[in-house]
Point group: C2
Chain length 347, copies 2
């Protein structure tokens, strides 16, 4: 592990966010109505399962990097986590996923109607958390943060629409450039670019510093998503908290799978096409394993890994160049350490 301190950084920021969450979610068991208490449990559930809390950490660190106290970014950091959990609940249902953070997805426990509604509840709470910015950073900046959240939400949903569209129409002749467009929309904005832009805004940086994050953030966010896909193919269920090969099951277009589609020939190609054309519920575990085998034999997983590393390295270069004028600090070093971590992580 090149940067063991990353775990300490994430742990410390995560602790802060966990503590602050109490102010933004209703206390468990606090209603007189059983139905509302059950709803509160759903709002808390994914939060209590943990997760890396990468987004809030990036938000808090960027605020500090620009000279702001991290407390100025805390409601926004909490809002990123609430929004992330809202998106996970809806995406898990939309993708037909089984496991999330080591336990069944929310819709598999409470049914889809209640889970979708709980996701909407977290969206309302995201919005409410951001209202605390008014007193903390002033009305003008508070509105800028709203703007950032609205835009990232718009992008993320567009990305999900593209992915759902590809799955529904069984489209496999996806070009790499369209894959990258998908990943930027669906992941990069809300995972790296926007948390860091908002951190800069909360930290009092001028908008040109926030804008300077974009190119770096999209590279970094794309590296993150490719590595996420690689782990889904090659990680361990225990460490990830979700099923290995789940993306194959769900029919997701990942960089590795698109590579395999391009490279496969003859009987292998035919097998790949036939298995991937089946809807989720008709793919057997043996078929998922067979797709994994084909991908490994074609070097597809290695290919994706390489692309993630390339992008992370480029992200780091862009970061160093764009922010060379920002004085060195623990926060700045931590952001750089997180870039390395993103492609070295095991879950």
């Amino acid at each position: 592990m090149a940067h063991p301190d990353v775990f300490e950084i994430l742990k410390s920021k995560s602790g802060l966010v966990q503590k602050a969450l109490d102010a933004y979610l209703p206390a468990r068991g606090s209603s007189e109505m059983a139905e509302l208490n059950s709803f509160y449990e759903m709002l808390w559930d994914y939060n209590l399962r943990g997760g890396k809390r990468l987004r809030p950490a990036l938000c808090l660190l960027t605020c500090e990097m620009f000279g702001g106290k991290q407390e100025r970014a805390l409601p926004s950091a909490v809002a990123f986590e609430l929004m992330h959990n809202f998106l996970l609940i809806h995406d898990d249902f939309e993708d037909g996923s089984e496991l999330r953070r080591g336990a069944p997805c929310l819709h598999r426990i409470h049914g889809a109607p209640a889970a979708i509604n709980a996701g909407d509840g977290l969206f309302a709470k995201t919005w409410q958390a951001l209202l605390a910015n008014r007193r903390l950073i002033g009305a003008g900046r508070a509105l800028k943060v709203f703007d950032e959240f609205a835009r990232q939400c718009d992008y993320t949903v567009q990305g999900q629409a593209i992915e759902l569209g590809w799955v529904a129409s069984n489209k496999w002749d996806v070009e790499e450039k369209d894959y990258y467009k998908l990943v930027e929309l669906k992941t990069a904005h809300y995972t790296t670019t926007t948390p860091m832009r908002v951190g800069a805004i909360c930290g009092g940086a001028p908008m040109k510093e926030a804008n300077a994050i974009d190119k770096f953030g999209l590279l970094f966010g794309t590296a993150f998503q490719i590595q996420d896909d690689v782990l889904n193919l090659a990680g361990s269920e225990k460490e990830m908290g979700k099923e290995v090969g789940g993306d194959i099951h769900e029919g997701k277009r990942t960089l590795a799978l698109l590579h395999a589609y391009r490279k496969a020939r003859g009987k292998e190609k035919q097998e790949l096409v036939e298995i991937m054309a089946k809807p989720r519920e008709r793919k057997t575990p043996e078929e998922v394993t067979r797709v994994l085998e084909i991908m490994n034999s074609l070097g597809s997983v290695e290919y994706a890994k390489k692309k993630a590393l390339e992008r992370a390295a480029e992200a780091k270069k862009v970061f160093e160049k764009k922010f060379s004028h920002i004085k060195d600090s623990e926060a700045k070093q931590s952001v750089e350490a997180i870039i390395d971590y993103v492609v070295e992580r095991k879950y």
Copy 2:
């Protein structure tokens, strides 16, 4: 018809909102990607089906009533319509509904995953529409409007959680006070109270005028929902654009049905309990008709109608008292006319 002009008022406000929508939703067919164009169609769909547009009308009229030009409330009025359509898409799925505004519900056309995602897309657009307030009414008031939207969303989702909980646990011993609590949370805030509070804020009224709307708005909104339930039982599918008795099918706890539960005896009671205990897909059309018959024989629909009228009359009294100091205007008269309309309407 006591107030034929209500249709003209709603039509004129609806036209304004329809025109303004173009600025907040992506143009249909404007993307290079087929998947995004299909997503844009889903964002537009419920909007293009029409609807009464009661919420934007109340928002615009209240702005005018407090002396503001309605243009100051236009982005908020659009946001109410976007938010309403987002909630309808999700609720239609969660309730297992069939028809909306005369056509199949969005999830029945595109499947639940794409429809839920389109609902989230409209939520992002709601948020973006509200950002236009910054230049129009200033940062301070723009944040107040965000606050109102966040709160109404939180309430609405809580109300939906209660209703879904009752359906899931087959709870029928619901007291009338809990029914009213549900209706205030689920309907009244986002249908009447908040649109009018936001109208007042956009119109430049002090917050104490906005707060004075609450009591009136909850009575008015409750009358609206009871009448909505009555129409669902006694209206015509053609006028409503949804199936008659759909609430019985979906197992909704309405005032009329709760009345029937209290009043039914012997064999009738047993029939009612048995039919309503069945999940949606196992209720036959004959059983739904039988429940309607029992309700009519017990005077349950008349009972609900009476309660709606009582609340509307009380709402009107409260309105006249609280806003006697606001000078008479076409806008003020229109709001009063809408109160009458709400319980006299046929769809």
